[in-house]
Amino acid sequence: MKYMLLIYDNPDTREIFSGERGAELNATMNTIMDEITKSGELVGTQALADPSTAKSVRAGEGSPAVTDGPFAEAKEFLGGYLILDCDLERAVEVAGRWPVVGTGGIEVRAVMDGSGEEM
């Protein structure tokens, strides 16, 4: 089973990561990355650019409506993701150790599978 760990940051996240706690936070992150890579669980991971650079595209009348900025106006925004091939318990455990700061957090969601059991 594959799970996506959606990493939610908030406007202070980058600052905290580059501040005095940065080294410790990055070390924690690197330890986890190393662990899930060597175990053969990490399927993919990407970090995303700042939400202020986003373009939001919505259905418009005749042509799509494009606006600057993130889709939803919330303090927390998607900062990046990891996809792990493991069970739910393990995915939640990894999420629990990921260094999130402030009001940030991680949402664990199953990735839909193309296979289906006979009904």
């Binding site: 399927v43 993919g44 091939d85 199953a110 839909m112 599978d113 193309g114 059991e117 006979e118 009904m119």
Partner: protein, 415 residues
């Protein structure tokens, strides 16, 4: 083309024999032996189709793999010499495996290899990957493609699995007594998981996974040849054959799931059904009865029915009761509830289902909601059934299952 396919088949068949022979000589070097055999397989796959299959293909592979192993040790020891200026042990060439065909230990080698790959310290994902590579002779790239993960991820998983075996003192020996029985159960479970990975594949990118079912059947046949008197091994092979016989009928052209009751039974593979029925019959007569045989017997009854209505449901219900005794699980109870509904009516099935309320193991499982919806619809409780199908669709993590459950909900809503 035929020559290529034949080469591949031959190589896959020889893999456990060659690796087994090598690992028997160097039991402490399983990791390196496994890599060397993979390299020999790659050489053979490149050379044999052009140059022809050697007279003694097994000997050829063993010789090439042994040479690789020795070369690796040499370069490793010279690297260490350079780095540490310490001479390390030279490989002992007298330990090179003899290249004779069909040594007496060969059969046991394949079993030992399977037991090692299904070491209890490994996760089932690692057991599966290692079994497919070391016993099945599949390359890392093929295994990665089948499980839809990057090759690097699968390579790490296999390498970690071999390290774990080494660290936990896993040896290339035959476990004794109760441990042997336990390990055989693990092997059968791994083959069953590989089969299911392939069998549930539906369409498009998923089709490459379908090969996993054929591979699981091939490996189950191998174990059945090695242990012809084990009725659970035969039962598992029968279960795979009988289930796989429905492959073409279980999805439509769009890749959507067709439930058992609605499948075009003329598309079932009769030859495979006949073999499966004969195998499970023989296994049950020999005994002792185990869960795979009972599941195969249930599949056989479905296979022999000309329609869903003509199915021998009382007999299926009796078998689910046996299965509930042998290997109880909430999924067995779910299946039993469907059989109860077919024999005694939907209310009786719903009563049984109520016993699963509050079962943590099924709390967020779409199948409980799906079966609940099915039985409620049978009972004419359409509104409640609609809610159940919608709930099941929300909980499902499979695209084709979700589409199927949404269609069931839409069909009720439209009436």
């Amino acid at each position: 083309m035929t020559a290529r396919v034949d080469t591949e088949g031959l190589l896959r068949e020889l893999t456990p024999q060659v690796l087994g022979a090598l690992a028997r000589r160097y039991p402490e070097q399983f990791d390196a032996c496994e890599d060397a055999v993979q390299e020999a397989l790659i050489d053979a796959a490149a050379q044999w189709p052009h140059e022809g299959v050697p007279n003694n293909p097994r000997g050829w592979l063993l010789a090439v793999a042994s040479r690789r192993l020795i070369d690796d040790w040499r370069s490793e020891s010279s690297r260490r010499r350079r780095e540490d200026a310490v001479a390390t042990l030279e490989p002992d060439e007298s330990r090179l495996p003899d290249l004779e065909e069909g040594t007496p230990g060969e059969q046991d080698d394949s079993l030992r290899l399977l037991f090692l790959c299904c070491h209890p310290q490994l996760t089932s994902a690692s057991q599966i990957a290692l079994t497919l590579r070391a016993v099945g002779g599949l390359g890392t790239e093929e295994i990665a493609a089948a499980f839809l993960v990057p090759e690097a991820t699968m390579a790490q998983r296999i390498s970690r699995a071999k390290q774990t075996i080494k660290k936990s003192g896993g040896e290339f020996t035959m476990p004794a007594g109760g441990e042997r029985a336990e390990r055989l159960r693990a092997v059968l479970h791994v083959l069953y998981l590989i089969f299911n990975e392939g069998y549930t594949a539906s369409s498009g990118a998923e089709l490459r996974r379908a090969d996993l079912s054929r591979e699981a059947i091939r490996l189950a046949r191998m174990v059945a040849r090695l242990l012809p008197a084990d009725s659970e091994v035969i039962g598992l092979l029968a279960l795979m054959l009988l289930t796989d016989a429905r492959r073409d009928a279980r999805t439509d052209d769009a890749g959507d799931l067709v439930p058992l009751a609605e499948q075009d039974r003329s598309r079932w593979d009769r030859e495979q059904i006949e073999e499966g029925v004969a195998l499970v019959g023989a296994a049950l007569r020999r005994g002792p009865t185990g869960p795979y045989q009972v599941q195969a017997a249930i599949a056989a009854l479905h296979s022999e029915a000309t329609s869903a209505e003509a199915t021998d449901w009382p007999q299926i219900l009796a078998l689910y009761r046996v299965l509930d005794q042998l290997d109880p699980s909430p999924i067995v109870t779910l299946n039993r509830a469907v059989a109860v509904a077919m024999v005694e009516g939907p209310e009786a099935g719903l009563d049984l289902l109520a016993s699963l309320d509050g079962d943590e193991r099924l709390a967020e499982h779409h199948r409980l909601a799906a079966v609940h919806g099915h039985l409620l619809e049978m009972a004419g409780e359409r509104d409640a059934a609609l809610e159940c199908f919608r709930e099941a669709a929300r909980l499902s993590t499979s695209l084709p299952e979700r589409r199927y459950l949404e269609r069931r909900a839409a069909a009720i809503a439209a009436n």
